[in-house]
């Protein structure tokens, strides 16, 4: 037998479930304990925000909301690895990344609260808004990367997509473009094991999602997505390659969605309590906390103090969100085109008259 080509997928993990270091080659950023503590604090902040956003929805003060519970390490690692000039094309639950890029929690709430101004956010002006049509954002990142390549700018575009999204053509098209054009592109598959109710095993017969990148001819790796250190190592490598003209990378971040898909979902219909209980053992915050405590870099007192601070900060954001006055009716017309066509001017006048009546 002759082999035409053969491939393997590396799996990367630094911290085990209990927060014990598995490898000796600790990367430079992880030796900076203060930076790790900052990342940990952001993960806690994101989780506090998430819980309070769900509570807001339950009390009728927010529309349908997509939780990020359990995916904090992946999201915070992405946010810390990108620079402001890079472009982030998220799907719709990557708040941790966006907070680091300057998006305010009140803006996230505004979007899920049914107000487009949440997308006119305080993060980098070139970042994409949340993308609801699954996997379409991967191509926006690829197109952005193509623009950077044409203009010879040392910038990187990064898209996130779920495990379900890897079944879509746009996902394959994006990584294929990344390979064919050698684009400064990183696609992170946030494999949280479920696409609403469909488990990862039913999504594809492929053993890993990372190996889909092999078909596109790009570097591909599977990472423990609940391990902040491993995620940063993989991202730093991918982003450096992209920035220096060495092409695109696919990172599969293996994590678990501890929450329902959205507040409109009830995950108890399709997965067992035992499974969720086991997943809580692997969750990212607990493991990083244990590691930091083992280094004497974080204490129970600091934990208590910081969580109280998170509540205070998120409450202030919620107050700001709730105090935001709704947009004028005219807003739905005013951004449809750069200049309002005559046709729409008439409709706008009708809508304003109807609103007055």
């Amino acid at each position: 037998m002759s082999i035409a080509a053969s491939f393997e997928i590396e799996y990367l993990q630094y911290l085990d479930e209990s927060g014990k270091l598995l490898r000796e080659d600790v990367p430079a950023f992880a030796r900076d304990v203060r930076a790790l503590v900052e990342a940990y604090k952001l993960m806690c902040f994101t989780r506090t925000f998430d819980g309070k956003a769900i509570a807001l929805q339950r009390t009728g003060k927010l529309g349908t909301y997509a939780s990020c519970l359990g995916m904090e390490a992946t999201h915070i690692a992405i946010g810390s690895a990108l620079t402001e000039d890079d472009v982030f094309a998220p799907f719709y639950r990557d708040y941790g990344t966006q907070f680091q890029r300057g998006v305010k929690p009140r803006e996230v709430l505004l979007y899920w609260g049914g107000d487009e101004r949440g997308n006119d956010f305080s993060g980098p002006a070139h970042d994409f808004a949340w993308s609801v049509p699954i996997a379409t954002q991967c191509l926006h990142a690829a197109g952005s990367a193509l623009a950077f390549k044409i203009r010879k700018e040392p910038r990187v575009a990064l898209a996130t997509v779920g495990d379900g999204g890897t079944s879509k053509g746009d996902f394959y098209a994006a990584i294929n473009a990344g390979g064919a054009f050698a684009l400064p592109l990183v696609v992170v598959v946030v494999n949280n094991q479920y696409a609403i109710s469909i488990p990862r095993a039913q999504q594809t017969a492929a053993k890993t999602l990372a190996q889909k990148g092999i078909a596109a001819g790009i570097e591909s790796i599977q990472v423990d997505g609940n391990d902040l250190i491993a995620m940063r190592v993989a991202l730093d490598h991918a982003i450096k390659r992209a920035r220096h003209g060495h092409g695109a990378t696919l990172i599969e971040a293996v994590t678990y969605r501890l929450s329902d898909h959205t507040t409109a979902d009830d995950a108890r219909r399709y997965r067992s309590e035992d499974e969720v209980k086991a997943a809580w053992e692997r969750e990212p915050i607990k493991r990083l906390r244990a590691y930091l405590m083992s280094l004497n870099a974080w204490t129970e007192d600091e934990e208590k103090e910081w969580l109280a601070e998170c509540v205070k900060r998120v409450d202030a954001e919620i107050d700001a969100y709730l105090a935001t006055k709704p947009q004028a009716v005219s807003a739905m017309f005013d951004y449809t085109y750069a200049e309002l066509p005559l046709d729409l001017e008439r409709q706008r006048a009708d809508a304003l008259a109807a609103a007055k009546a």
Partner: protein, 326 residues
């Protein structure tokens, strides 16, 4: 001034705008060294290089999605679909993203992109190469939908489409790509994207059309003139946003209207124009509005395609019905 046909008007506009504005890039299948399947992009890669005239992998959804990304990040992409019938996989990106990027982000992000495609039947092409799908796009808020029907309008409207700050669907009636030549100056003068063009003045009946049917409609006007009937001919050109006022002004004068399009009758854009005439011009009309359209059948393969497409005789007959009714 050069004597050029319609497709040369497209090429001339692309070359002009690429020379003027370094952010303009062309992407699609076979647009580079091959110059496009209809030769719309011929010579551009040699002139502007493979980084600005980009041969893509064979995936229309990819082309559309890359185009959105390019446009949002400050480029002016002109994407080509080889045939309009290959645009269906692009519609998700166009409708879900290109058309709503500005409004979604309240103006923070915009999508100044052009999606070009050869359009319509009549060239004996295989299945899916002869569709008239403009009405799929006219119902999408945030787009402009343009059909060029002469060499000069192809040049001027494409310049305007590329310069427009919002996404434009730009259809080129392939049946008349090489129908005739006319003098067009490469002067960079764009045409407006919000007006209809009155191609012929008349007083008895208004014939409203777009795309390749401009040819049959002008022939019908000649035939009617031979019988002493004066027909006004309007090329709508930009279907969205619609310049209804020009159509209304004409109908105030002629009191009769025939709408001609090769897209299927039901849900075709002619229905929109007819509805507006009923809403705003009912008392100006002396006769019911007539529509001459494609039939509500899938575009037949080429042996029957000329029986599907509106003919000069059908347009003449419709005009006479309108005149007889009053």
């Amino acid at each position: 001034m050069a004597q050029i046909n319609l497709i040369e008007g497209i090429t001339m506009a692309l070359a002009h705008e690429m020379a003027r504005d370094p952010s303009v890039v062309v992407l699609g299948e076979d647009v580079g060294i091959n110059g496009g399947v209809f030769r719309a992009t011929v010579g551009l890669q040699q002139k502007f290089g493979p980084e600005r005239v980009i041969d893509t992998p064979l995936d229309e959804a990819m082309i559309a999605g890359l185009t959105v990304g390019l446009a949002v990040q400050g480029m002016k992409p002109v994407a080509e679909a080889q045939f309009e019938g290959f645009m269906y996989p692009m519609i998700d990106q166009i409708a879900s993203h290109a058309a709503r990027m500005r409004t979604r982000t309240r103006g923070r992000l915009t999508c100044p992109a052009v999606f070009r495609a050869p359009w319509g039947g009549g060239i004996h092409a295989p299945e899916h190469h002869s569709e008239a799908i403009e009405a799929l796009f006219t119902n999408i808020a945030g787009l402009r939908v343009v059909l060029a029907s002469s060499p000069g309008r192809a040049y001027g409207l494409l310049l305007a489409a590329i310069r427009d700050p919002d996404p434009v669907i730009f259809f080129e009636p392939k049946r008349i790509y090489r129908q005739y030549k006319e003098e067009v100056a490469d002067d960079g003068e764009a045409l407006p994207l919000d007006v209809c063009f009155v191609l012929r003045d008349g007083s008895d009946v208004t014939l409203v059309t777009w795309g390749a049917q401009v040819k049959e409609t002008l022939e019908a006007a000649d035939a009617l003139a031979a019988e002493g009937i004066s027909a006004e001919v309007i090329d709508v050109a930009t279907l969205k946003p619609l310049d209804f006022d020009t159509i209304h002004e004409s109908v105030k004068k002629t009191h009769r209207c025939v709408i001609v399009h090769e897209a299927p009758y039901t849900g075709g854009f002619g229905g929109e124009i007819a509805a507006r005439l009923v809403e705003h011009a009912l008392y100006d009309l002396y006769a019911p509005v007539e529509r001459v359209a494609g039939y509500d059948v899938p575009m037949p393969l080429y042996q029957l395609e000329m029986s599907y497409l509106p003919t000069t005789a059908r347009i003449v007959a419709a005009a006479k019905r309108a005149l007889a009714a009053s």
